[in-house]
Amino acid sequence: MKHVMIIIFTLFVAPIIGGLLFGIDRRITARLQGRYGPPILQPFYDFFKLLGKERIAVSKLQFVWIYAYLLFMVASLLVLTLGSDLLVLVFLLGFAGVSLVLGGFSSKSPYSHFGANRELLQIMAYEPVLLLLAIAVYAQNGSFLISDIIRQPKPLMYTLWPLFIAVIYVLTIKMRKSPFDISTCHHAHQEIVKGVTTEFSGPYLALYQLAEWYEIVLVLGIVALFWTSPLIVGIIIALAAFLLELLIDNVTSRMTAPWMVRLSWTFGLILGIFNIAYIYFTKGVS
């Protein structure tokens, strides 16, 4: 029964939270730029308007991949809320990411092709950090289960703070914020048309946005895992991280994709490896 409640909550409440976060994002960003900004509920207005639009197709496969992006994102979020395996979460998130890339690839459009290649580089940049996080969590707790993280009395933040910094870095990539809004971004800072989503339109663009709402709840949920006793502290940390991202977004500009990958594969990995090595040396290999 509890599981059913959690599933219903994840399916219906998470996108509302995600949509509100996007509304807040637009409002705060506008204020930072000296504009008034749209109402908080604007993402929902946009969503329903898009749903009612006429369907325009450049390829059938593109629609298939957008469905896959949405459904695997939801599956990934369910793994988080049901407290299952952290590695499985990363793998499902990987499928969602790959679906988006393939959605971009599945039409003969130069702009969406550019975006898809860049999205792929983004996956390459954040995937190892998330996998290292899972291994570090195992090294710390002796379990990959998210429910075991929640059960631990001592928050992960004490020992995994270097990986927390790396995860903030991943959060920037996942939220498509500068300097890592490489494949597409929300506020059209610098953009090659509309990146990977160039050819998405109408109801299918709405589905893509819905998936993004799930995604932001998911990545902020991962941030919250660093402090789960009490969980409210984790949620506050996640919201603080969210606000920090908005600030970073507005004070930096987009960098190049190779720079992102290089930075992630040096800075992010060194933090992760250092972190895991530290835990192994203090706790021993078991």
Partner: protein
Amino acid sequence: MIDGMMAIAILLPVAAGLVTFFVRDYFARNVIVIVTAFSLIANSIMLAAKGPFTYTPSGFDWGILITILDYAILFFYVYLGISLRNWLVVTFAVTQIIPLAYFEFVMKAHVEVAPAFVVDNLAIVMTLIISIIGSLICIYALRYMHDHEHHAHLEKSRQSRFLLWLVLFLGAMNGLVFANNMLWLYFFWEVTTLCCFMLISHDRTEIAIKNAARALWMNATGGTAFILAIIYLYATQGGSQALSMQNIIGGTLQGSVLLLPVALLCYTGCTKAAQMPFQSWLLGAMVAPTPVSALLHSSTMVKAGVYLVLRLAPAYAGTYLSTAITIVGAFSFLGASALAISQTTGKRVLAYSTIANLGLIIACAGINTPLSIAAAILLIIFHAISKGMLFLCAGTIEHQIWSREIEDMEGLAAKAPLTTLITAVGILSMFLPPFGMLLGKWIALEASYTVPLAAVLFVLGSTLTIVFWTKWLGRLLQVLPKVGRPFEKLSLSYSFPLLTLLVGIFVVGIGIAPIYQSFISAATNNVIAGTQVLASGWNILTSGGAESGSFLGYFPVWTLYIVFAIALVLPLFLIGLKPTEMRPVYLCGEQVGGADTDDFSAEADIRTKVTLGGYYFQSAFGEATLNPVVNTVAIILLVSMIACGVILR
């Protein structure tokens, strides 16, 4: 009964191969190969149903025959080396002949090992892979070689010769996985090397012969290490009983002097499994007709290498050698995955991916816990199915567009939707949930915590894996807006193996829990005293298993297949598009013509086609950049692996 089953598994392919060699009629030859293929499949299923047994052939001195054939093969290598003027081949043939002659005539070794064959669950898993997937590839080859020769405009058909070595290969592999007598194992090992040479050099082009010779000498260094290990075992452990695989892994021999021969045998396994720095022979083997690649990569040859390393796992458990093997494998996984990104030829991407996955399997054997051994066996099974199918897809694509280049496959979804669909499932099954390969990778990652360095290498490698597969699949999908693309028609000889393997991916993937119960947990037990890893769904229980209740993770496999179906399969067939909904892609308003053209008006209003290209990152991941680094590191790792056997007892 057992006599009959062993004869069908080992001798029938040999006999059938010889018969096809002399039958010159296309139709009759096809019947023979198809009957042999189905007999092998039925026989392997019967073996699986029968369960483990031991067997020693009687009534004929097979030992003498095998010794004679050993020398025949080795002197044939010398002949090949001299006629090709390839002195490496000659050298490594002689380095096998001299020790073998020393062993037989100076040491006057008399080897009697009983039982000669041990068919345990690991061997049964292997023979199922060899017999089922190998046979399907032989069926595929019937039509493929026909088209291949038609396209090459050969005067005289050489299909009989090709089928001889292809079918014979399966018998040698079956012998290899059953053999308990190390000398017999060595013989089957050499037969597979010989078959491999014959098949790679089949087209007789200059490059084919050169690459086949490279495969030969690299594998011959492995053969040399094998024969040295045999001599060392025989001399230090007191005779015949040391040459029984069961004794080597069973702990009945003296442990302290065992490590060196085991290290040598692991080296042999690494050469055959094309681990770095030996990857070049497997890449060179890509020049051969595609059924050869499919066979080498999925069910035979390289799988013999990982089989040997996995089989020996108990002999090096808990030593530094075990850790060294883990690092050697994990490094190959990372290095090959990185190199795969820069490859522009489809078959070379597949080849690097094979090397990477074999590295992962070897690393799992090195980690040497019940969990990791289960991962290794699962990876062998899933890799064989997926990679076998992908190579057959590559061959089918090649016979539709007459090219192996990924850039030429752009928009294949429009030209050959069925082949693209099967290829897409094959590619997805290599690296994404809910498919089996990812299950293996998942278990491997969960098992890798005992060797943190391996865990880091796994993480980086599996990230790069995502990049190169997605890149390739993306190229296939770039289509113009158009409705109603009917599936193309494929010859039955193509479609039967492809569709069987496609169904196999789903059946084995979904049925993993029952399959695990009946085979893999038992096979793990043959390698190591293990316990339950998967119960229902994809539960992972650690060593100690159900009773200790230490629970690692849970992968609800059923639900994920349903998500997969709802996400990809249903929309694919349910989304109906109307021609009126079709629009051209965005080209800054410079589009010329209707939705189904890709022209735009370029400078001076010249009508130009849109051309797109894939990213290959030559400067970062190219062979020129990476090869010197990875080969150096790999050689150092390999030397330290053998050093672990010598020094750190």
